[in-house]
């Protein structure tokens, strides 16, 4: 049971970071008006939230030891899935027009 929980940890962390950044973006844009870009502060907040989300993975990596065998190593693979997903799905905070 504990093992299963650890397996879910990485993707769940992605889900949390994804929701938080998406929610933050929605809230920031709800206060803006028109098609213009949000200000520098808002952009920094979004990028910061993204980087914090990535950083949150690092201590968890230290928590979960590597084990031999792909299936047995699933918690660590799960962390990689979460980390890659966080990098891949949220990198637009750095490049796209915000609102």
């Amino acid at each position: 049971m504990r093992w299963l929980g650890l397996v879910l940890l990485g993707p769940a962390l992605w889900a949390v970071v994804f929701s938080l950044v998406y929610g933050l973006h929605g809230t920031l844009c709800a206060t803006a008006s028109g098609p213009e870009d949000l200000g520098r502060a808002a952009r920094l907040a979004l990028v910061g939230a993204w980087l914090l989300g990535i950083a949150a993975f690092l201590p968890v990596f230290a928590l979960i030891p590597e084990r031999s065998g792909q299936a047995a190593n699933l918690p660590r693979i799960g962390l990689w899935i979460g980390l890659v997903a966080t990098l891949f799905t949220l990198f637009p905070v750095t490049v796209t027009t915000s609102c």
Partner: protein, 839 residues
């Protein structure tokens, strides 16, 4: 309870002495068989019976949905339309989509899992047989309500996605939309029920010693599917309930004039709708992962990678729902998040597809009939996946969205990714279902007709869409350039239908005329074939263990049939199976399952009466109709009360296990946890709705609240105190007095809540925010009521002496529910208070 600790490691479980297989069969049959005749079908709870019935019913709905699609194609074959008027056409395409999604695909995969999982995991039934039956009847009745509406010309007509305001009372008067909302929600009871029991069955009923990492891949796929169903369906249920309340009582959740938001519906719908696509795909991928290695005479390549891919899919598929909403005017950055997630989800899909192809390289593929359909899957699904990636690209989506291009794409993924694998699975497992061999020739012909018909219909439809043809139009008099495209699709669609008819005919011929098949015809190594064919209701005369894993099923069949496994026969005259622990699958206790009963039929019929009264807008009567529902639930739970024989059971020589009444974590307890996960998602959906209309919705601000701060504060304080105390009581002790106290505290909290709602809450019809607050109060009230009911039930069990020092009765369930109720109550109060303070 004490002898649980004596459980040896699985390796040391001694085999039972062999017995006469026929005697064992008779003994088990007398306990596990359905009752005779038609009544026996009404009372059946067996997973074999119900799984097959789920699938057969789903195929009938597939045929009905297919006939509707023929009408659509006939109408579109010429630019002036054939014979349908727009109203009827709208009903037909709405019903085609709704039937294929809710009455075919989902029940089909539920039926497959219900039928196959216990066999594959080495157990005798699903965890909650009566729930299986309840799910089936709810599915059937809900489906029949929708079909009846179609016959009377009052079927849903607002599209299978039911976008509001089009589906609101103002623009869709009449009961058409209510039929969808109530009918589909009724059917979804079966989805939640199936998700709960699939989860529990996989986690708690694996053959002893079968670690999670040793499970057949289908079990991993179904574990992922059921987890997704637990989290994916509640947003749809929440949305449907809200929209039905809006239509019935004018609470403006989605009305932009009163602070509601049509986009809230879209978010809730697609929060379900996109995971739904993967809920449909995962079981299909699961059967692929089982069949391909067997048909290639090898083992699966990359087991761990596939499990990781499932893990990735389960989560990522919840991060792409907005790609159905790329054209609603969302900022580009948010679109980019979801575009990236939609693209990324193709990676785990690719991992699986390449693992299957690698498996085929590793082995030597044999061109049996299932392999034809597997090849059909590969070709079709790869193309559908590629157009899916195209649609994930935002600018292209802006052009292609809501055109025939999407129609083509979704049929490529759904027929390619679900129907072809299901056809492969049907031809693969038919011997186990019927005990017969197929009639040669027709199956191959059916495959080719289906393949040609399918691609002839849908390949060209991509172009139709790019040439500008939108979805859901019935005529196109000004666009002669679309005629040849549509005519081609229409002609081939009839070829496709003929192919499906041939396929079903082939199954019928096999079931009726086929010669006897020998056991394990595919020489598969899994437990599902380690039994006589056709499979008996009890599956295994004695249950397999981990030492039977990874051996050719042929070597396992006879020893198990002779009772050399564990828990042989039914010596106590009741349905027994082994319950194991989640992680290592060590034997934990013996679960005693209920036998045949008409209770599920009665309960779903009484829910059906409630649904029909709601449809008729007889809301007061509908409220009264909930009384029999509550009574039947009480009777249902009484059925779980311990019988006379609570002695521990000898499962093998030297190992006695307690029955589940003595167990700390029974199947029921695990099921409640799974249900609370779904329930918690529903609660989160409501919170999301409240946050959405408060922050994102541009509509008019909510008027000033009229509550008296002091009175409200006192009332909320009282409720908080009451639920806190109730939680403390049930945590503190399992005594008669504690149950009484919990009953009174919950009832007290409920009374205060109702009084506050009546006097302090703002009129829910004036603004979406107030409506959502009222709904949340209602949610809390309902949970307090159920908690009170459970406390009363426990009290009754004390009176009957059913809760003792080592028999837990309903107590753990009450404790869990009370804790959940307290937490959601406190969160609700906290959120509402914070909102009040901030405004």
């Amino acid at each position: 309870m004490s002898d649980t600790s004596l459980t040896p490691r699985t390796g040391t479980i001694a085999p039972n002495p062999p017995r006469r297989a026929l005697a064992l069969h008779r003994e088990l049959q007398s306990v596990w068989a359905n009752d005779r005749g038609l009544w026996g079908q009404m009372t059946a709870v067996s997973h074999t019976t119900l799984g097959l019935r789920f699938m057969a019913t789903a195929i009938i709905f597939f045929a009905i949905g297919g006939i509707l699609s023929m009408l659509i194609r006939a109408q579109l074959a010429s630019h002036q339309g054939a014979f349908l008027d727009t109203e009827l056409y709208n009903q037909i395409f709405t019903m085609h989509g709704s039937i294929m999604m809710f009455l075919f695909a989902i029940p089909m995969l539920e039926g497959l899992a219900i039928w196959l999982l216990p066999k594959m995991l080495g157990t005798r039934d699903m965890a909650f047989p009566r729930l299986t039956a309840l799910g089936y009847w709810c599915y059937l009745f809900g489906g029949l309500i929708m079909l009846t509406a179609l016959l009377f010309g009052v079927a849903p007509r607002d599209g299978w996605f039911m976008y509001t305001p089009l589906s609101s009372a103002a623009y869709s008067p009449g009961i058409n939309a209510d039929v969808w909302l109530l009918g589909v929600t009724f059917v979804e009871i079966s989805a939640i029920a199936a998700a709960v029991e699939i989860t529990v069955t996989i986690l708690r009923q694996r053959a002893p010693g079968m670690k999670l990492t040793q499970m057949p891949l289908f079990a991993w796929y179904m574990l992922g599917t059921s987890a997704m169903m637990l989290v994916g369906f509640p947003p749809l249920i929440a949305g449907s309930v809200l929209l039905e309340i809006e239509r019935a009582f004018d609470w403006p959740f989605f009305d932009p004039a009163r602070g509601g938001d049509p986009l809230l519906w879209q978010h809730l719908f697609w929060l379900f709708g996109h995971p739904e696509v993967y809920i449909i795909f995962l079981p299909a991928a699961g059967v692929m992962s089982m069949m391909i290695p067997v048909l290639c005479r090898t083992t699966i390549l990359g087991y761990g990678a596939i499990v990781a891919a499932i893990l990735g899919l389960v989560f990522l598929s919840f991060g792409l729902w907005v790609h159905h909403m790329f054209t609603v005017g969302i900022p580009h950055m948010a679109l980019a998040f979801f575009s990236a997630a939609s693209v990324l989800v193709a990676v785990p899909t690719a991992v699986q597809v390449f693992a299957w192809i690698g498996t085929m390289w590793k082995g030597s593929p044999q061109l049996h009939l299932p392999m034809y359909h597997i090849l059909g899957f590969f070709l079709t699904f790869v193309m559908g996946g590629l157009t899916g990636v195209m649609l994930a690209i935002v600018p292209f989506n802006w052009q292609a969205h809501d055109t025939a291009f999407v129609t083509a794409h979704l049929h490529y993924v759904l027929i390619g990714g679900f129907v072809f694998p299901m056809m492969a699975a049907a031809t693969y497992w038919m011997p186990l279902i019927t005990g017969r061999r197929r009639v040669k020739g027709l199956g191959e012909a059916a495959f080719w007709v289906i393949l040609i018909g399918f691609h002839g219909t849908f390949f060209i439809m991509h172009l139709t869409g790019l040439m500008g043809m939108p979805r859901r139009i019935d005529v196109y008099p000004d666009n002669p350039e679309w005629v040849w495209l549509n005519l081609t699709s229409s002609i081939f669609s009839f070829v496709l239908t003929i192919g499906f008819a041939m396929f079903v005919l082939d199954l019928i011929l096999q079931a009726t005329l086929g010669k006897r098949e020998s056991r394990n015809p595919w020489r598969a190594p899994t437990f599902d074939w380690a039994m006589p064919i056709p499979s008996p209701n009890y599956n295994f005369a004695s249950l397999p263990t981990a030492r039977h894993l990874d051996r050719d099923a042929d070597e396992v069949i006879l020893p198990l049939a002779r009772g050399e496994g564990i828990l042989p026969g039914a010596p106590n005259g009741r349905r027994e199976l082994l319950v194991t622990r989640v992680g290592d699958a060590q034997p934990d206790h013996v679960g005693v399952l209920p036998g045949n009963t008409a209770l599920p039929l009665a309960l779903s019929a009484s829910i059906g009466v409630f649904v029909l009264l709601m449809l008729a807008s007889l809301y007061a009567l509908a409220g009264i109709a909930l009384v029999p529902v509550a009574v039947l639930i009480w009777v249902w739970v009484r059925g779980m009360a311990p019988g006379d024989n609570l002695a521990s059971v000898a499962v093998t020589p030297g190992l006695r296990l307690p029955v589940h009444h003595h167990a700390r974590a029974s199947l029921g307890q695990s099921g409640l946890v799974a249900f609370l996960v779904a329930n918690g998602t529903l609660f989160a959906s409501l919170l999301f709705g409240l946050a959405f209309v408060s922050v994102v919705t541009p509509g008019p601000e909510a008027p000033i609240s009229t509550f008296t701060p002091r009175t409200t504060a006192i009332a909320l304080g009282l409720v908080t105190l009451a639920v806190g105390l109730a939680s403390a009581c049930v945590a503190w002790s399992g005594r008669h007095g504690a149950a009484m106290l919990a009953l009174l505290l919950n009832l007290g909290a409920l009374v205060v809540l109702v009084w506050m709602a009546a006097t302090q809450l703002d009129d829910p019809t004036r603004h979406a925010r107030d409506a959502l607050r009222a709904v949340m109060a209602g949610y809390v009230g309902l949970h307090l009521l159920v908690a009170a009911g459970m406390a009363a039930f426990a009290l009754d069990q004390f009176r009957r002496g059913e809760i003792t020092v080592d028999v837990t009765g309903a107590w753990p369930a009450l404790r869990l529910w009370q804790r959940y109720t307290s937490v959601t109550t406190l969160v609700t109060i906290g959120v509402l208070t914070a909102q009040a303070v901030m405004s």
